[in-house]
Amino acid sequence: MSDLVKLTIDDREVEVAKGTGLVETAAAAGIEIPVFCYEPRLGPAVGACRMCLVEVEGMPKLQAGCTLTAQDGMVVHTASTSARAAEGQKGTLEFILVNHPLDCPVCDKGGECPLQDLTFRYGPGSTRMTFPKLTFDKPIPVSPLIALDRERCILCYRCTRFSSDVAEDEQLIARNRGAYSMIATFGDEPYRAPFSGNVIELCPVGALTSTQYRFEARPWEIQDVPTVCGLCPAGCNIRATTREGLVKRVQSRNHPEVDGGWLCDKGRFTFPHLRSDDRVREPLVRGTVGLEPVSWDAALDRAEELLRGAQGKIVTALSGSETTEIAYGLGVLLRRGLGAHSAVLDESTSAALDACRAPLSTIGAAELVVVVGDDEVVDRAPIVDLWLRKARRAGAEIVTIGARGSVPAPVGGAAEALRDLAAADSELGGRLRASDRAILVWSGSGGGGGARLAEAAHALGFEGKPGCAVFHLPARANARGVAEAWAAAADADEADPEPIGLLVVSGDEAAGDPSVRALAERASTVIAITMFHSLAVGWADLVLPATASLEREGTAMNLEGRVQRLRRAVTPPVPDELAWLSKLAERFGVALSPHAAVVFEELSGRIYGGLLLEQLGEHAGLPARRPYEAPEPTPLAHSPEANVPEDHFVGTLRLLRYTPLFSGHQVERVPELQFQRPEREVALSTVDADRRGIATGDLVSLRSNGTSVELRARVDARLVEGVARLADEHAAHLHADVEVVKA
């Protein structure tokens, strides 16, 4: 093949694809070229650290191996066959260590530190340095999440390259130049960006460390559990580091097709919610003075009593964050055991998307991406935002259609925008149709996004083109798996019971959902399955403790349609859901295993096409596309936005609520994450702000139907006219139409 080149490294002949980096080429031949700054995921090599020095025949000077690509006929000598290269490398290392404190015994990186490892292998055994080393104040808080020990830094620029070239937040920079360079943020401001934590993992020394992990564990006394993040539908692959039964940190487990080795800060730093003070650790029953703890036997008796008492008039509110196995277990108990088929789930998605599915990494290679919807991608499925940025850097055109889009659209106009795209006369639609590398993304609520998206992709002819794909970003992590598992647990039609005898609330997202709370108003009794006391008080007759995704065995289906395996990183402080669901099921004469693996076996044939647990492996593959079937209106698609009025009163603005990435019951319980939460502010379009004489920073009052909220205004040039955009948590009880006036 002409695309292959043959070269010699340390007297070994290697054949690799043209354009392969020399570091990878050497690795393919079983030869190590040591590196610090080299990290292909950060873009082109910079050759900053000089650790990779090699001798290349025909070149007079030593070369930075990481900056070279394999060329036909190249003859390379690494330090193991070239005395010059070895000396160069030794000198480099000695130079790097001139100001390095060698405080490995008290450094968190010690034991898993590339600098430590390479010094052992290539470095001098002793130092010739007799001068005092540079010292700095330490540790410097880069943010409440990241500490900087400046004297350990070797100026490889991995972190600043991540900040400017991958996340593109440009908040972490190098100040000054040459020997005086130092990593810094602007003034005393924290590194406040959705992906900041990645710089901790990128740092090849102990300069950037996690404040959560600092002084918590040593590498020889920890265990890493491979599992999957359960906080958004992307399903990034993670490793949970545990020590003595506690999760100590979460790191990326690089699935090249899903996350490319990056994690958002929500996925990385939210685990301390497992140890929240208000965690429900035992079943609670409503007594005369509020919720009282009871034994598990008493709790199951009470559950049985409530379930029987409702005489089938039961509605189940699903969170979409359950494992597929738990959702199936609930379905077995409630549908098969009790004939209670009615369920609600916010924003279910559609199986019809499988006709045009592809790995998320496909986005990175796209030439045209169209994102429809009013929500920022980063708020719904953060890692998708990084794929979009990668695509844009590679020259792709990114078109966003929504309230803050490059193509402005009215709030809730996504479905219509998709219909327009699929129409024959659409210019953009025509380009999507013509392209072999086009992507459609739905990033918004309501409107049956998954089904609409599948229809549009079908109309645009995406099915036959592997480089074209669609991605629906549902609000809940396992929305798809939960909906399908619930549907597969029994064959019967749903009938909404009236009145509702019992509302079963499964999980914290459902328990915190205002529409579920409204449903509870109409229910005689409520069973809440939740992790936290604050979500249980005031409405539940029986509270059963829930577990977190880091404590669960099971599977989840991410937004690509990829089935991935969750593994129990730590034992939960309570029995897991399947344990007591199986006991309850027994009381109603239906069989349900308490073991996730057994439940998986049963449900796999029904919804996963007979997939075996072993097939999932550590890095699950994405099943092949399925033939397109026109989506049916799914029975679970209860959209809370459906009752928004068409037009609004003159002078009022349409309220656009969004759910920020850093929000939710888990984030609220992690003090060091609070600085990432959104400011108390409302965004207004330039036109609306000018009309009201409002400038950024002004205190404004939002009023509707007798309630009002005061916050700061921010003029958002990207926002469409007629809209007031603010985070859910600041919107309180405001209605769909608000008056905005200067306070």
Partner: protein, 155 residues
């Protein structure tokens, strides 16, 4: 009414393919507006005008010698101590300035009149030692010339 810094920067931006390319002239304008140095406020203004982060502006400004991130006096004396000037006696010139002004290199006189700095090459290697006073180059400066230069700077 004089144009705001924002307007001035936007004017400069027009001459470049994209706003961030104008960062150097934008910082220079900001420095002029802020009394010869760049406080945090200046970085925020430049960042806002160019749609970049203040941190990015700092990374650029702190790289170059002609941007100052600390307050400077009304006059700025910069002595080149790079190779050519060093072999022509730049160190003695620096010491003479230190004596005359009563400050160390890198400091500002107590009355806020003069800041003395040592800098890298000013591009006048053929006329060493080069001293830039308020950006005007004095060539072939010897220690004995220093008294006169300082006198010109006044009180």
């Amino acid at each position: 009414m004089s144009p705001t810094l924002h307007d001035e920067i936007r004017e400069v931006v027009k001459e470049y393919p994209e706003p961030r390319s104008a960062i150097i002239p934008a910082l220079r304008l900001a420095q002029e507006r802020h009394g010869g140095w760049l406080p945090d406020e200046a970085f925020r203004q430049v960042a806002e005008a160019l749609d970049v982060t203040p941190a990015y502006c700092v990374s650029i400004a702190s790289f170059y010698d002609m941007f100052h991130t600390e307050p400077v006096g009304r006059h700025l004396v910069e002595v080149c101590t790079n190779v050519s000037c060093a072999v022509s006696g730049a160190q003695r010139v620096v010491e003479a300035f230190e004596r005359e002004l009563g400050v160390h290199a890198g400091e500002t006189t107590e009355d806020g009149n003069v800041t003395l700095r040592t800098v890298e090459c000013l591009g006048g290697c053929g006329w060493a030692t080069v001293v830039a006073v308020d950006n005007r180059h004095h060539l072939r400066v010897q220690a004995g010339d220093v008294g006169g230069i300082v006198k010109e700077l006044g009180e």
